[in-house]
């Protein structure tokens, strides 16, 4: 099963569950069988699990550009060689073409948005407008992403710009949702997040124990967090907090089957490497 876990999982009825599994299997096969067409998005539309006819939109990132939709119809029991219902009506388009439709002829994409569900996505391949149109939410609105800067790298650095040039090529190591900030922006606290299956979710008190920044802090060493926008903070402390209101208040993306209300909250103070060197 290619990228099986990137599919959404939610409690459903038996009919929907079966239809979903069959569609997921088809999508998985497309992920493997089409090396020149990188699948970026698969949308089940309109979702009607009891119907003998299902509909699937696939957007691909293709080595060779093509205009319009390519259509196909096949049995969802294709694995067994059977040509029996349910059938899937497949429409495939390139991301570029679909984005163009979104901008220039939004009415043409309306059928794909009707009672639809995203079954698979690869956010690296998709444009922000497509992600937004299909309501693919991968992070809370106010999430700031960044990297842990070790004591030694901080000591060597002359400016935040220099640090950014070192770290910004790499996937962010954490995200932060600020829960409070001082009026002069010098101090703040917040909940650290981690990217799991393309979605940013809050760290748990147990989960944070793996991370070097947490262990370095526990060992009494200075810990610096650098953010994409150029802010640099020193960690003052971590404090496990029970806050059942945080998830809804700050829009955390949490597993609804496994809600969490205990978070390691981090307290931060802004630092300015160049000014410290001068001082």
């Amino acid at each position: 099963m290619a990228n099986l876990a990137q599919f959404n999982l939610r409690p459903v009825g038996r009919e929907e569950f079966q239809a979903r599994v069959l569609l997921e299997d088809l999508i998985s096969s497309h992920l493997v069988q089409r090396p020149s067409h990188h699948l970026a998005l698969a949308v089940w539309y309109p979702k009607n699990p009891s119907s003998p006819e299902q509909f699937l939109l696939e957007l691909v990132c293709s080595d060779t550009s093509f205009e319009g939709f390519v259509s196909d119809r096949l049995s969802l029991n294709w694995k067994t060689g059977s040509n029996t219902p349910p059938f899937v009506n497949l429409r495939v388009a390139s991301i570029e073409y679909f984005s163009k439709l979104l901008r220039e002829h939004p009415g043409e994409i309306a059928p794909y948005l009707n009672n639809c569900e995203v079954l698979y996505f690869d956010k690296k391949l998709l444009t922000p407008d497509v992600l937004k149109r299909f309501n693919v939410i991968t992070e809370p609105q106010e999430l700031a992403k960044g990297w842990y800067v070790s004591e030694s790298e901080y000591a060597k650095s002359r400016s935040i710009r220099e640090l950014l040039s070192l770290y910004s090529h790499m996937r962010p190591m954490f995200g932060l949702i600020k829960t409070e900030e001082s009026s002069n922006f010098e101090n703040c606290r917040g909940i650290l997040h981690v990217e799991v299956g393309q979605k940013w979710v809050p760290l748990t008190p147990e989960g944070i124990q793996t991370y070097t920044y947490y262990n370095d802090y526990q060992s009494g060493r200075p810990v610096y967090l650098l953010f994409e926008g150029g802010a640099l903070y020193e960690v003052l402390k971590f404090e496990v907090k029970t806050a059942p209101d945080y998830a809804s208040r700050f829009g955390f993306l949490e597993d609804t089957l496994k809600p969490n209300d205990r978070y390691p909250e981090v307290y931060l103070r802004a630092v300015h490497p160049s000014s410290q060197r001068t001082a």
Binding site: M1, L4, A5, D25, M170, T212, N215
Partner: protein, 158 residues
Amino acid sequence: MIDTLKSICEQCTHLHSARLDFISAQPHRQKDIISRDLKELASAASLENEKSVAVRAGCLLESVLYCFIQAESAQIRRRRGSFDFNPDHSLNNYASIFNRWYSNLLTIPDIIVEYRDIIHINRELNYPPDICQIASRELLRLLNALLERLEQYAALTL
């Protein structure tokens, strides 16, 4: 001074006393390979070889997930309706499958795949200079936590 790899490895008890009961009894080679690699990982950690530890720990993470998911194929099939274990998948795929079906045990963050990929020089060149220092430590701790949870799971289910 940051924590030495040797001291982390000594604290990570499951790295050097792994029971590996979550792996199928057959074929024997899976347990043998993982046991051997764990010994080599401890050896690299005792020498403070950060790159070697990052690469070996990343490789072990993939091996452990591979063996666990293969052993759990029937269980996933029961829950999902169908599931075929694909031995040709990558760490990213195995982590995804694990996170979907076994996130109650532990979640594998996406960044771990990046850490494992520092085996490729073009990747390491794009990362900050302290990447091996950070990756080696986080991979050791994550692997230890994974082995611990899988052993607990095996004790409850076998």
